[in-house]
Symmetry: C2
Subunit: 326 residues, 2 copies
């Protein structure tokens, strides 16, 4: 059976060249949405915009990890959605380790010294012996944990219930009984327990890194309570999703020096609005959803691997559960 692929990505030409090189069997290319397109590869927002013109869609491979545009209770679900996984861990680790080192090594202070011709011999800090807390330990979190162990840190992981990474020294979970959190009926009684577990997790950390996907359970999980529980020397890094952070609470925590600093790559609204207070909040460094770019070389490998399974009628890797949202 022949398959028709539509590529919906900014780097379309790069992707096409890389896929053509692989000479995949039974695969033709479409250049625009059409009735006979059964496979798409691309950015979730562009896939969403094309969905109505893709009646035969059987499989969509997202080039991003986050697929929010394709989720929601009214979203079409009559196709298999796979996302990009296993390719961002290394890039995210570089980002997290890079900014932790910038913090410990006081890079910006040294730059100030240099600009003022100050020979400043004051000692810098080190990652060794520090404790890092990961909110979410999926494939990306596991890679960050591995890098943290490489640099001699103690690693705490906060997950719903999974304990799959051997690089996490201590796991924390929302509730004493694993089954409660997703049971909506007990949400009211669960909330205080979740708060307790999170505060317990946060209180011993030097660094807190959010890597959670955006789901109903993770929204504003980084709130006043959690930020208050962090030690005042703690640094917060968000490489997950902006929705996980109560942005007003974070601004207050930074303004009042409740924590030492924050590094944000993701925001509730992107691009960040020009009048957003984050632009001028003290001790806050921002990047612009660039922590782990989707490199066509990486994503194409993943697409080819999945296409071979797809063409053989086998189950695909990295399938998204429309219900869970990741």
């Amino acid at each position: 059976m022949s398959h028709k692929l539509l590529i919906l990505a900014q780097d379309e030409n790069k992707y096409r060249a890389l896929i053509e090189e692989a000479r995949l069997v039974n695969l033709d290319f479409a250049t625009q949405p059409a009735e006979n397109v059964d496979v798409v590869l691309g950015e979730p927002s562009r896939i969403k915009a094309a969905l109505a013109s893709l009646p035969a869609l059987s499989w969509a491979q997202s080039i991003w990890a986050g697929v929010e545009p394709l989720l929601g209770s009214v979203a079409r679900r009559d196709y298999i959605l796979t996302n990009a996984r296993g390719v961002f861990g290394g890039l995210m680790s570089e980002y997290v380790i890079g900014y932790l080192l910038a913090h410990e090594r006081k890079m910006l202070q040294r730059l100030e010294d240099q600009n003022h011709k100050r020979w400043d011999e004051s000692d810098t800090g080190t990652l060794r012996g520090k404790t890092i807390g990961l909110l979410g330990v999926g494939s990306i979190g596991a890679e960050v944990a591995r890098a943290a162990k490489f640099f001699g840190m103690t690693v705490c992981g906060y997950t719903l219930n999974s304990e799959t990474s051997k690089h996490v020294d201590k796991y924390f979970h929302p509730l004493e009984s694993d089954s409660l959190l997703s049971d909506r009926q007990t949400e009211q009684q669960a909330a205080p327990l979740q708060r307790f577990a999170l505060q317990n997790f946060a209180s011993g950390l030097d660094y807190l890194v959010n890597i959670l996907p955006n789901t109903v359970d993770t929204r504003k999980i980084v709130n006043t309570d959690l930020l208050n529980a962090l030690p005042s020397h703690a640094l917060f890094i968000n490489v997950g999703r902006g929705q996980a952070v109560d942005e007003s609470a974070l601004i207050e925590a930074l303004n009042q020096n409740k924590i030492a600093g924050a590094v944000l790559d993701v925001f509730e609204q992107e691009p960040l609005p020009q009048n957003h207070p984050f632009w001028t909040t003290p001790n806050l460094l921002m990047t612009f959803h660039t922590a782990a770019p989707s490199l066509p070389e990486d994503i194409t490998k993943l697409f080819i691997e999945n296409y071979k399974l797809f063409n053989a009628g086998k189950p695909l890797k990295y399938q998204v559960d429309f219900e869970k949202g990741y």
Copy 2:
């Protein structure tokens, strides 16, 4: 036999407390230079100043890796000099990886973006797949090599003749015959060969890191020829000794964009003079001999280990060869 220890370090009290805690046998403390002091622990420059008042000196443990003040043809050599080794590798690795990530992740450009409220989605680079060249692969270089491999780099090592680190993918040496370099009589004919080997080493690098000690063979090894051999996108980091760099040549290379940038922690003259052109050279980041601080906890462990050998009459670890200079 009883031993008398004099501590000559800024952190004297910290060192004394840590050593007292260890309750070493046969060890008393002196508070100033005296005839019966046979052991000193401290900074090389302070040890040098006290040498004339230490007639019974048998062993000096430096808290630094570099011991230049205690070397030279007229220096006293009737005692065992040991330096600090094996404790700086992790700190140096943090420094090198931190500044490589700052470079690849365009941290300063992102900061500029933030200051100008610019949402800049342009992609950042990655360490993965890059080639790093280490000038000198001793215990520190081996640790930097290990960190480079962790982040997926190819590691080239330039050494006199040793090939001891398994984390170095390819070694380069000054000459085809290992024995020539230290043979002064052949220096004239050796020089062109050394230049060729260095240029060959440099031409394939994305990053060049100097970790060499300061010896007659390493002075100004980073000169115009070597800098010209580097690709124009290369970054140079010096965590070894300032004497290894021809500073005028480096300033010229940076001013003419022959290389992408430099990060310097060490200088020919320290503190760097106020009128030194480095303060205002473009694409140059400086720190102030703070890349790998001597942490009393680390150094004391090393001293205690050596003291036990000393007290037992056994050979000490990390002995400096007064002739070779390291």
